[in-house]
Amino acid sequence: MSKINNFLEEQELIELYKKMVLIRKFEEKCSQMYLRGSISGFTHLYIGEEAIAVGTVSALFDKDYIVSAYRDHGHALAKGSSSSKVMAELFGKSTGLCQGFGGSMHLFDAKKRFMGGYAIVGGGIPIAVGIGMSINYKDEDLVCVCFFGDGAVNEGAFHEGLNLAKLWNLPVLFVCENNYYGMGTSVNRASSVEKIYKRACSYDIPSLAINGMDVIEVRRTVDSTVKKIRRGSGPHFIEMQTYRYRAHSMADPDRYRTPEEETIWKERDPIEHYARCLITEGIIDTYELSKINEYINNEINEAVKFAENSPEPSIDLLHEYVYAE
């Protein structure tokens, strides 16, 4: 675990913790709500991977863009979307981020520059490259972070996207969330190159692999990388190694991983580890931690109440958004 003192203001350090706990508890609640039948469709939980979204987004400006895939709740929450509106979207309610039209796999929050969750593996990658092109076109000091999984690097869109991003020197940070499985297929059964960060080498994009279970390491790496990108050094690639504690989706029986493997990863739990660091370094004590947990439990319960009490979208809207007016 990285040393954390002298790195960020105390308040910021605590904020990282809060955000990770928010995502964890939000996802646990989702699982409950799914089993209760309030949430439907395919629902992919982010539990275990919280340090990636939180560490990465904390290093960005509010105006920076992020693009996600279908495991997108954590990204939206990290970028500042309201937990109530995300929950309402999962419930398919009119008060949801996308008024109930999107669902779990298709969150979007224009105000927060959360540029969408896409359910086609690799589908978000060219879109992120296009956002990078737009940033350069307008000569803005911004970056676009593109999150995708280890499975997505085998799609053509990934290769076409990386090539163009480098060719045109676009301000895109590619973040590969390597949780070692794409559905039931492990990386070594799907990728000719097991070290995924090396994929970027063929496009001459600077790349490295880091511990995605360590929020400070994520934050530090993204901080320095994003600074380089803002100075015009073009796209970068970071492989963040992590693990999803839950099945691929709520519909997956999850029979392809061993309990031993799961235990090894859970011992490195990003939230527990970070909490211990904060305590050891005297930044927070257990009482304050429990206060935070309590506060977040309340927030999540409020989110559920909000979602439950919100109306369904009106049937009159069925054709409303097919075309822009």
């Binding site: 039209f101 794409g182 297929t185």
Partner: protein, 331 residues
């Protein structure tokens, strides 16, 4: 005869064909180790080994392209694309390559390739995972399109598709996998291009395929309360299309509706409607009607999703409307 689910009927067809012909092999995402996303390939990896049942990376364009290459060089590959939504990533290989090669090379080479893929809506999977795309392939010459509605047809048609020397897009309905029915256990073959009259009647012809057949049957039951005797044609196969059965029936009843769960505009229903109008015009007592999904991307919300799809009630109401019969509580 044995009772099997649609899923197990497909599984059995795969096994029987693989036993018969060693050149048949399967490739796709999660088909081997995981036993298939919808478990259609369950047990095949254990039985036939990794040379004949191959897990691929998430690379749809490559899956279909590699299957084409294999088909051109002596194998009879069966490619599984996890859902029809992802065939869009392989569209170049399907439309620009598989559908063209036999023709553009003057008949020198055949492409005995099956692409199995499920489709279906109604499970709140959202806009990118709920599409019915059969019309995209139906539109394209050079590729067969099959869409079984029952376990027996699933078995018989898959075996025909595998034996056919053309590329075949074999569309399974993901909402039918658990439905059960009697399936002949012998080497049961349903030839491509022959529709199934699932119910005979004299008053109106209802043409459909895939899961909608069940809705049509239920609607027909309700219509009996109004003394309407509907004939229901299950196309089973969209290319080749059994126009003979369609025209015969429409000439008998004088009325036709076509039901499909895909978008209305440019749908299979639209094409069949044109064919009927061109070929049976003087027999028609009313304009041909299409009952389809609304032309919208699928909304996630369950109420909106339901409103966008055709159902039993829409079929009943449309028929009553067509026959100018007032709806009573008889339903």
């Amino acid at each position: 005869m044995t009772e099997l689910s649609y899923r197990d009927a497909l599984n059995l067809a795969l096994k029987e064909e693989m036993d018969r012909d060693p050149e048949i092999m399967i490739l796709g995402e999660e088909v081997a180790f995981y036993q298939g996303t919808y478990k259609v390939t369950r047990g095949l990896y254990a039985q036939y080994g990794e040379n004949r049942v191959k897990d691929t990376p998430i690379s749809e364009e490559m899956i279909v392209g590699a299957a084409i290459g294999a088909a051109m060089s002596g194998l009879r590959p069966i490619a599984e694309i996890m859902t029809i939504n992802f065939t869009l990533l392989a569209m170049d290989q399907i439309v620009n390559h598989a559908a063209k090669i036999h023709y553009m090379f003057g008949g020198q080479v055949k492409i005995p390739l099956v692409i199995r893929t499920p489709q279906g809506a109604g499970n709140q999977l959202g806009a990118q995972h709920s599409q019915h795309l059969e019309a995209y392939f139906f539109h394209c010459p050079g590729i067969r399109v099959v869409a079984p509605s029952s376990p027996a047809d699933a078995k018989g048609l898959l075996k025909s598709a595998i034996r056919d020397d053309n590329p075949v897009l074999f569309i399974e309905d993901q909402n039918l996998y658990n439905t059960k029915g009697e399936v002949p256990y012998y080497d049961y073959i349903v030839p491509l291009g022959i529709a199934n009259i699932v119910k005979t009647g004299d008053d109106i012809t209802i043409i459909s395929y895939s899961k909608s057949i069940q809705d049509c049957l239920k609607a027909a039951k309700i219509l009996e309360n109004y003394d309407i005797n509907a004939e229901i044609i299950d196309l089973r196969c969209l290319n080749p299309l059994d126009t003979t059965s369609i025209f015969q029936s429409v000439k008998k009843t004088g009325l036709a509706i076509i039901v499909n769960e895909a978008w209305k505009t440019g749908s299979v229903a639209s094409e069949i409607s044109s064919l009927i109008t061109e070929n049976c015009f003087e027999y028609l007592e009313a304009p041909v009607l299409r009952i389809c999904a609304q032309d919208v991307p699928m909304p996630y919300n369950k109420v909106l999703e339901k409103a966008s799809l055709p159902d039993i009630e829409t079929i009943v109401d449309s028929v009553l409307d067509m026959l100018k019969i007032e709806k009573t509580k008889k339903t």
